[in-house]
Amino acid sequence: MTFASIDALEQALREASYLPDRGLATALYLASTLEKPLLLEGEAGVGKTEAAKALARAQGARLIRLQCYEGLDVAHAVYEWNYSRQLLHIRAAQEGTVSEAELFGPEFLIRRPLLEAIESSEPVVLLIDEIDRADDEFEAFLLEVLSDFQITIPEVGTIVAERRPAVVLTSNRTRELHDALKRRCLFHWIGHPTLEREIEIVRLRVPGVPERLAAQAAAFVQGLRRLELAKPPGVAETIDWTQALAALGREELSAEVVEQTLGSVLKYHEDFESVRDRALVDLVQEARGAR
């Protein structure tokens, strides 16, 4: 399903519980209009993976996710033969009666995410998550798949996509990606949201949260991002934290409750310590003053 305009896509994502800013909405819209993969980069926790999931929900498409890791190869990303079944099959048949064509038929093929996405006849969003974790060889292979949307299996032949899946790649920039791969993709950098948007996101994702608590939590996290931290918290942390605060039945922030729950926002011990010892009281004051 394609969208008539950026506004229509924005609306659909909103209904799928995701609040994109205009930039991200434009990126997703262009990706589907131009039928090009979209590369999303940004700090951890700004909602890169979530964007792909929301797109799938908004389109009523199936999400197929390929989580990348070092050493990821064709057998885990594209297809593999079911070897034990093949061996059993050879055993079970009379000697000499198993032909090669029989042995490499579809019933022995194990489909991994990429093949599944290419073969699918229903609409699909293919999420290739954390592509920077895979190694160079895999990136080169991916290049082939993403330019022609086809996969060649020596024993079977070439499988061409009936309908091109919407492809979203995410990267945390642990290393630079190949220029060739980048050239195939539209590129969007997701930054941290503005205060207003972050409040909106929190209220959407933590249903029933007191309005004041959502506003104060968002303001507090925005304050944290201005400090020099080893790992500034993302929106994901704001959501987790607000959930924790709401579960504790809080209506607003206090220095005491922030100190107890800060661990769900700051994941590095040094950050935790320096905020607790120095900035915490001021930030709470500031956040409480915001609304």
């Binding site: 205009r22 434009t26 262009l30 980069e41 061996l87 050879i90 945390n172 050239r183 790992k231």
Partner: protein, 374 residues
């Protein structure tokens, strides 16, 4: 396709971007035009995002893009960074790397006459005491020493005679012929691949005598392929990987000198390491990497920051090697505040004052294992 006016506009804008140093190919311009066709041209914001997402593909290019965009579409004057002329700092580097005129490599006859003992002598001589003539000769030997790379086990499996994991794909193929009996078994095992290396070289004033020799070594390590990142620091951190990727050491070092604005200035090791940890460590560049820091450890600022940043670095790195040319002096004691603060987080502490010590460094790098005592 949008109207002619728009096409002309975008094509010219592509040229403006190219002038600003952003690589814009014809395919990208094509995408931009197709994209513009699909959005409302009256909405400036949508035009901006469309152009940005189709024409730019890396974070570093976003700022020049924004500047060019506002200049081009809003007719605002661009603020250009003042051209940097660092002629005085470039010269010494270029001549050390063996500039055209300073090509003082000994003629063949001379070399034979000087023979083995001459080379051996050079190997032991402190870089600081070498004449330009001798430096030019040593340059090649440094490059040879730097051609080293630590290895690690890959998660990938390759066919191997003495592997531990059955190669089922081959087994099935072979079994076809024998009716299901695996007459011959094939194995796979994990292979060795190059490990990531990060090199940070101090180019402040106190390191002047050694910085160039060490940068040549760094250049050679960068030449061993992907997965090497090089930085220089003095009062600030400068990434040199793209400059040092040039094969010719002479040009690479000249390019590097142009990039480094604080050559032979003061030292802020703690600040520089913090900048490194914040920008690159957070992107997991150091995870699993061998980190080499070449510095004399003279810290101008508070040594406490250096200590805490070293701790951060050591936690994510596979191993940390500190190369200190001063250690070449047998009487040297790491008493300076900076060096003392850093040492607890250093796995190997080595000199780097002459060719022999760089050879030793190469040997350590190739065989390095986690958590040696300094």
């Amino acid at each position: 396709m949008p109207g002619d006016a728009v096409v002309k506009h975008v094509v010219t804008f592509g040229r403006v971007l190219r002038e600003a140093g952003i690589e814009v190919g014809p395919q990208r311009v094509q995408d931009a035009l197709t994209g513009l066709d699909a959005v409302e041209l009256a909405r400036r914001e949508d035009v901006y995002w469309t152009l940005r997402q189709t024409l730019v593909s890396r974070l570093e290019d976003l700022e020049p893009f924004d500047r060019a965009f506002s200049a081009w579409f809003e007719r605002a004057p661009t603020r250009r960074a003042a051209p940097r002329t660092r002629a005085e700092t470039i010269r010494p580097v270029a001549s050390f790397a063996g500039g055209g005129t300073a090509d003082a490599e000994p003629a063949d006859g001379q070399q034979t006459a000087r023979g083995w003992s001459y080379e051996e002598l050079l190997r032991q001589r402190d870089f600081a005491s070498l004449t330009p003539d001798e430096l030019a000769h040593v340059r090649k030997l440094i490059a040879r020493a730097g051609d080293c790379r630590p290895l690690r086990r890959s998660r990938r499996l390759r066919a191997h005679r003495r592997g531990h994991e059955l190669d089922l794909r081959r087994l099935v193929r072979a079994s076809l012929a024998t009716g299901g009996d695996a007459a011959e078994r094939s194995f796979r095992r994990r292979t060795l691949v190059p490990r990531k290396v990060v090199l940070l070289c101090d180019v402040s004033g106190s390191m002047e005598a050694y910085a160039r020799a060490l940068l040549l070594f760094v250049h050679a390590v960068v030449g061993t392929g992907r997965g090497v990142e090089a930085f220089a620091f003095g009062t600030r951190l400068t990434r040199l990987t793209p400059e040092l990727a040039t094969r010719d050491p002479e040009r690479a070092l000249a390019d590097a000198a142009k990039r480094v604005l604080d050559w032979t200035g003061g030292t802020r090791i703690g600040e520089s390491l913090k900048a490194f940890n914040d920008e690159w460590g957070r992107r997991a560049l150091t995870r699993g990497a061998v980190v080499v820091i070449a510095s004399d450890g003279w810290e101008r600022d508070d040594a406490a920051l250096l200590g805490s940043e070293m701790a951060r670095l050591a936690r994510s790195a596979y191993a940390v090697v500190w190369v200190n040319p001063l250690k070449g002096n047998p009487a040297y004691q790491p008493l300076a505040g900076g060096m003392r603060a850093a040492l607890p987080f250093v796995d190997r502490f080595l000199p780097g004052h002459n060719l022999a010590s760089l050879d030793a460094l190469a040997e350590v790098l190739t065989g390095i294992e986690r958590r040696h005592a300094a």
